[in-house]
């Protein structure tokens, strides 16, 4: 249009089409660039990882010895609740959305996300939601202290914080749904012509499936918390037996959301692992199509197993048996994945850079979390395991040395592509070994504690639990401090890293695996403005 009004300005205008990032801080507020928004998501997630981690340190400090030393029980309960909410909704989920923003367009040969303005909005709504949630810490009556599951009637005893926490959940839900819509729209509409669905990298596949999960479950959670809101303020009795309601109804609704929700955090993890392991094994991924089908099966099963979180609420026998059998089935597709990763490594030519180390630790430790998951699927055994430290150990094994380790691996794997700088491999490996050892000192003894009879969510315990709690706390402190190394590495790499010039493919023959390694390092502000002609074949 400006070309019509001022033809002599043509040259300038052409240049304008190709502009780089905006100058100044305002760029980070109004940006619609997928790479900028990816960076914002990742940095926000990293910050929240430390906030949630600080809360975990409070928990482990209080549990270091029997007796109450630092905090009162109510604040302790707030800490366990907020630690979980911040880690789930503030750290792990946003981190994967950040990776999706950076990587999906580059991996499918698209210039940006399909809906860039909504992309910006979903990020800032996330920030608003998490800040609102954090603000409840300073409200009269304290932050929510009924556990991240927010079970009524207990959660209805929350002080002034309750409506704020519920509104925060609404904001986080809207943000997630918008992010998910954006990812689905991008993958369905913006792939390079040669990029058929069954040629997409596994990371893209797992995110596509995860996005559908998110759209299905976030409204369910929003509905559940809205019923809490009306029960508390508008005299409804959804969850109050005195008015004809049922507190267990909430648990059914919550876990219909909650079980797929935990898979929202693990499916993209599978995707990243399936992306990293072949690169360092210098082999194609084993069983690409069975990986895709296994992911889809796990996603489907996640909708029909929710009540295995509720074996003790008093379900009819048929319900107990059905949910036990259905849950045990999950072991099959999950097993297929673990076998495929092992077969990918088999007869490869492996090297062990930091991303590969974290990925191997993920496969081993996630499998251990899977084993304890299988044990708890067995309903009668769960009558003993339920709500003890055994389950705490289980879900931390599937979240920390699984999701979090893979997020670390992804950071090391793609930072050179994003920044054009190489991270310090020595410190990276130090970070890995400290994390991998301390995470086991932290969580492995919790299996013993749970089996020996220590319930979860208690601020103080009988003295026979003292030894393992102390070991666990020591592991926790080492793990917490080790993560400062990661923070250092991220900052150091952004500021130049080792100074080594990184090549376009960064990792040997990485361009055979995925499109982003065909781009220059650092990746330019705009990439694939015209789609690539060819895409890597999974069977190079």
């Amino acid at each position: 249009m400006s070309a019509v009004i001022a033809p002599h300005d043509h040259e300038h205008d052409d240049h304008h089409d190709d502009h780089g990032p905006m100058k100044g801080w305002i760029r980070w507020i109004i940006t619609t660039n997928h790479k900028d928004i990816g960076t914002l998501y990742l940095l926000f997630a990293l910050a929240m990882f430390f906030v949630g981690g600080a809360m975990a340190m409070v928990i482990r400090a209080e549990l270091f010895e029997p007796g109450l030393q630092f905090v009162n029980p109510q604040f302790f309960n707030s800490m366990t609740t907020m630690h979980a909410l911040v880690m789930v909704f503030g750290a792990v989920m946003p981190a994967f959305v950040g990776l999706a923003n950076w990587q999906i367009p580059m991996m499918i040969g698209a210039p940006d996300m399909a809906l860039p303005r909504m992309n910006n909005m979903s990020f800032w709504m996330l920030v608003a939601g998490v800040l609102l949630l954090a603000s409840t810490l300073f409200m009269e009556g304290g932050a929510p202290a009924a556990g991240w599951t927010l079970y009524p009637p207990l959660v209805l005893q929350t002080g002034a914080a309750l409506p704020f926490a519920i509104f925060s959940v609404h904001l986080l839900g809207i943000s997630s749904i918008m992010g998910a819509i954006n990812i689905i729209a991008t993958i369905f509409n913006m792939r390079a012509p040669a990029m058929t669905l069954m040629k997409m990298p596994l990371f893209v596949w797992t995110w596509l499936i995860t996005a559908f999960l998110l759209i299905a479950i976030m409204p369910v959670f929003a509905g559940a918390v809205t019923m809490l809101l009306t029960d508390r303020f508008f005299d409804t009795s959804f969850f109050d037996a005195a008015g004809g309601g049922d507190p267990v109804l909430y648990q059914h609704i919550f876990w219909f959301f909650g079980h797929p929700e935990v898979y929202v955090m693990i499916l993209p993890t599978f995707g990243v692992a399936s992306t990293i392991i072949p690169v360092f094994a210098r082999k194609p991924l084993f069983g690409y199509s069975s990986m895709v089908y296994a992911t889809a099966s796990i996603a489907f099963l996640s909708f029909i197993v929710w009540a295995h979180h509720m074996f003790l609420v008093g379900m009819p026998m048929a319900g107990e048996l059905y949910f036990m059998y259905a849950t045990m089935l999950i072991a099959i597709p999950t097993g297929v994945k673990v076998f495929n990763w092992t077969a990918t490594m088999w007869k490869g030519a492996m090297t062990f850079e930091t991303p590969m180390l974290f990925s191997i630790a993920f496969v081993v430790l996630f499998t251990m979390g899977g084993f304890t998951g299988l044990m708890m699927a067995v309903a009668p055994a769960d009558f003993q395991y339920h709500d003890t430290y055994f389950i705490v150990a289980h879900f931390h094994y599937t979240l920390v040395p699984a999701s979090v380790f893979i997020l670390m691996a992804a950071g090391y794997f793609w930072l050179p592509k994003w920044t054009g700088h190489m991270y310090n491999e020595k410190i990276g490996k130090l970070h890995f070994w400290l994390s991998a050892i301390s995470v086991n000192i932290l969580f492995f003894p919790q299996h013993f504690l749970g089996l020996a009879g220590m319930p979860r969510r208690i601020p103080d315990y009988a003295v026979q639990f003292a030894d393992w709690n102390m070991v666990s706390s020591i592991g926790g402190f080492i793990f917490g401090l080790s993560q400062l190394l990661f923070l250092y590495i991220v900052i150091d790499t952004i500021r130049g890293g080792t100074g080594e010039k990184v090549t376009d493919e960064v990792w040997e023959d990485a361009h055979k695996h995925s499109l982003e390694w065909t781009l220059p390092s650092p990746a330019p502000y705009h990439t694939f403005t015209t789609p690539p002609e060819t895409v890597p074949s999974e069977h190079f």
Binding site: P66, G67, P73, Q74, N77, E140, G141, P153, Q157, A160, D240, A241, D246, P247, K283, P284, F286, G287, Y288, V313, G314, M317, L321, M324, M328, L329, I332, G335, V336, V338, F339, M345, K347, G348, A349, M350, F352, I360, V364, T367, M368, F371, M375, V378, P380, A381, F383, Q384, H386, D387, T388, F448, G453, P455, R456, R457, D460, A462, V463, D467
Partner: protein, 506 residues
Amino acid sequence: MNKTKQLFAGTILTAIGQESARADYTLNLTEGVTKISHDIHDLHMLILWICVFIGLGVFGTMFYSILHHRKDKGHQAAQFHENTTIEIIWTIIPTVILISMAIPATKTMLELDDVQDSDMSVKVTGWQWKWEYEYLDNGIKFFSSLDEESNKARQLGSDIDPRTVPNYLLNVDNPLVIPTKKKIRFLFTAADVIHSWWVPALGWKKDANPGFVNEAWTQVDQAGTYRGQCTELCGKDHGFMPIVVVAMDQPDYDAWVKKTKAEAAKGPNLSDKSRDELIAAGQSVYEKNCATCHLPTGEGVPGAFPALKGSPIVTGDINKQADIVLNGKGAMPAFGKMLKADELAEVITYTRNALGNSVGDEIQPKAVQAMLPEGAAAVSESDEDEEEAEESPAPAVETKADKNAPSSKEALMAKGKAVYESHCVSCHQAGGQGLPPTFPALTGSDVVNGDIKEQVKLMKTGKGMMPAFGGTLSPEEFAAVVTYTRNALGNSVNDMITPAEIEALQ
């Protein structure tokens, strides 16, 4: 030389002493003391070994690969990327393993659920933060909360080393006492929020949901003390509501029942006391029942639990305060149901004249007793009745109808009322209105107003949540309660059944 020896012996003794003073920790699930807990332990070990075995296979393969298939060893990468045969094999093998796990799991699950043919029933109610036990067969009812010593040691900054407290956080003032070698049915419910009742040695835990009733059962063959805790987050003192079950052989249990009933029959001491006496006694009542929320200083927790210090209620009209203490309000439980009149009078007087308040008045136990609902007095009376009844030779195990058993309608109605109050009232409620939808109303019920034989049959064999009373009640009690339900609680069928007829129906 001698000194060295002494020192050496001393060191060893200290070391041994410390070793035994250290509570022993365990690494694995307890085998427990019931058949179910043994079955669950076996199931646990089976799955654990299956997992270990699979783990060794997978991780072994992976680590072999990590050691040998390395670039720095000059290994050339193979390029295979699928193999249908092996993929089918590693799908089928786990399926077979899962089926082999599901079969024993299903058996144990069915066993866990079988509450039929129990010898006695205990109703367990979870409160923030204590347990209430009610023996449905003999009317014994009491609260069980954290013992005083643990409670003192667990306060923030108490300076008491938990290691010096015996059974720290796992001890209560009044344990649940059960007989050994008897199948005991538990009914779980809650008064405020969800709790969960877990004693690892019994092999299971069960949620106590407010407004609903869950069932479970146990049979302990060995006398002993078994400890556990609440396992569903229930608020700030969730970690401080332990469970202690004492299993006693039948004679010891019978003696305990007798003693407990005698104590309960005593009732409150209603004699007048001076203000100072009331205040002095009120302090311990306050510390045990009120301090968890309103804090030992009476300062409360702003936003959650109001301060008593300077509170308009505590410093205002004493009768209004007593009303709130007795009947509860919001999160404040109704203490009229938990404490005796004298304890209530003491604690009310204490709050008004301590914790920074100095109203300078008192309330006497008699005045509190007058404010309590009639039910409180009625219960203690009926307890006394049963006391007397027990002196006649073992009526509960009587199988033949006594020749002298009352068979007039009036006598049956009177007896039926007592039977109803000890066996039926906790579910069908005092007025027979029930707790729909879980417990049907008896008032106007089709069954109670229908064919009397059908009602007898249903009560004998049980139905759904309704237990089988055939083995629990004597024919006389049975006839009495049937007659009672048909001619009271708003029903007037105007018929009756005699103990002899009940026996004939057996």
